[in-house]
Amino acid sequence: VTTAVQIAGVGIHPFGRFDAGLVDIGGHAVVDALRDADGEGSRRPIDAAYCGTAYGGVATGHRVLAALGLTGCPIVDVEAGCASGAAALMLGTSAVASGQHDRVLVFGVEKMPKGMIRSSFFEPWREQAGLAATPAFFALRAQRFMRDSGVTKHDLARVVVKNRRYGVDNPDAMFRKAVSIDEVLGSRLVCEPLHLWMLCSPNEGAAAVVLERSTGSGITVRATALRSHLPGDVLDESSPLSGIVDAAIEPPTTLAARAAYETAGVDPAELDLVECQDTDAARELLTYEELGLCARGDAVRLIDEGPPVNVSGGLLSKGEPLGASALGQVVELVHQLRGQAGPRQVEGARLGLAHTIGRGANASVVVLAR
């Protein structure tokens, strides 16, 4: 027997570059979420906390909550690459759904160095060999996708233009200036076909969510699915050194999506809006297919005809604080489902999906409903 879980409060620290330290950035989002859940001046206890972070270091969740006097409850720190926040959400949701806890806090926080992400995932010799260049793997995957689906560089630029246009209306985004196709294609080439503006920037930020047993009215967590990669795809986010030629291997995003749709009892065609991993512009289009939002080869059509995707501005506008990014998407969905998203509100939004895919590989799909 499982209990329905609702989101009682959400909070966010803007994504960008700040003088504030990791603890302050995380604390800001946590306090914001508790205020949203409990109202000004009161604070109901939480039974457990789950903190997603990839670069925060040992006991990041404890450090953030210690500064707020919120320790004593179990605090679990979770690392799952770009899906860290979603992995924390999955654990928190399970704890409430199972009856283990009544009320939990889930948050993600990150303060990352500038530039290309350096990861302990790779052994030193691989870095020295030049075989740990993350954007190169994004580019190789983008090329394979373009060859398979007929997507062009112009299409990739359109994704950037779309997300950056949405980002103008998000005060929590790092980049809030609209860009043109020519500007995107004129930005520095990092790895063919990916130009600088087609890649998201690692940065800093935090997001937090308070979960509790459903009272039948709030925003309900309908599914939180996390999956890793199946072996054999040379270009999956586990960045192996070899794969199996011509193997048709289901990507982790598809595995997570299928599990989430089944748990939530929804069809992707019913979704009112989607927040997805636009680490690079091609990744967003590939994700449309992997999530089953469209048939293979139809991703470009979805830019104009599909449900609104990344109305928060996506990672291309917000930047990507790894541990926080998945929960940032959840915060956006909650604002949308509550009708509180201001100028970027998707009218009548009732069902939303959030997706991440990254190092591990780890893929997450979260479905929220009003």
């Binding site: 010799w125 020295q128 060999a129 075989l131 260049a133 063919e192 192996p240």
Partner: protein, 137 residues
């Protein structure tokens, strides 16, 4: 999976340098019979716990390529450089640096194995595998 190996020094793991050239030393699973690279004691595709050493073909075809224009963290070699995937007759696809000798790279282009020496940043060098385009089709 093998535990993370420590920095092995002069030659990239999986590469064997002989007098007559270099070889990629992969593995072949005794159960599913599929090849992998570099060799691991258990099969990364099916999980079976017995693999045999397999010297992979020196010739393959390009299945993807791109140019890295900015030095990634921890890399001290020249930029730009080429990186891609190469399909080998054993049915394994390998991530590799690429060396272009014919004016342009193409999907399906024939390449052969060679090696590249790179600065490691500590005064020493690392020898890593590379695939180079064949001079003529």
């Amino acid at each position: 999976m093998a535990p993370p190996t420590r920095d092995t020094g002069a030659i990239a793991p999986g590469l064997r340098v002989e007098a007559d050239g270099a070889d990629l030393i992969g593995g072949r699973c005794r159960s599913c019979r599929r090849h992998h690279f570099p060799r691991t004691s258990t099969c990364p595709w099916c999980g079976a716990d017995a693999t045999d050493e397999a010297v992979l073909s020196r010739n393959g075809t390009i299945t993807g390529w791109t140019e890295v224009t900015v030095a990634p963290p921890g890399y001290h070699g020249p930029v730009p450089y080429l990186i891609g995937t190469v399909a080998l007759p054993e049915g394994v696809e390998v991530v590799s640096r690429l060396i272009e000798r014919t004016g342009d790279l193409d999907h399906g282009q024939a390449v052969h194995l060679t090696t590249t020496r790179l600065e490691r940043g500590d005064g020493n060098e690392l020898v890593v595998w590379s695939f180079e385009t064949d001079e003529s089709p």
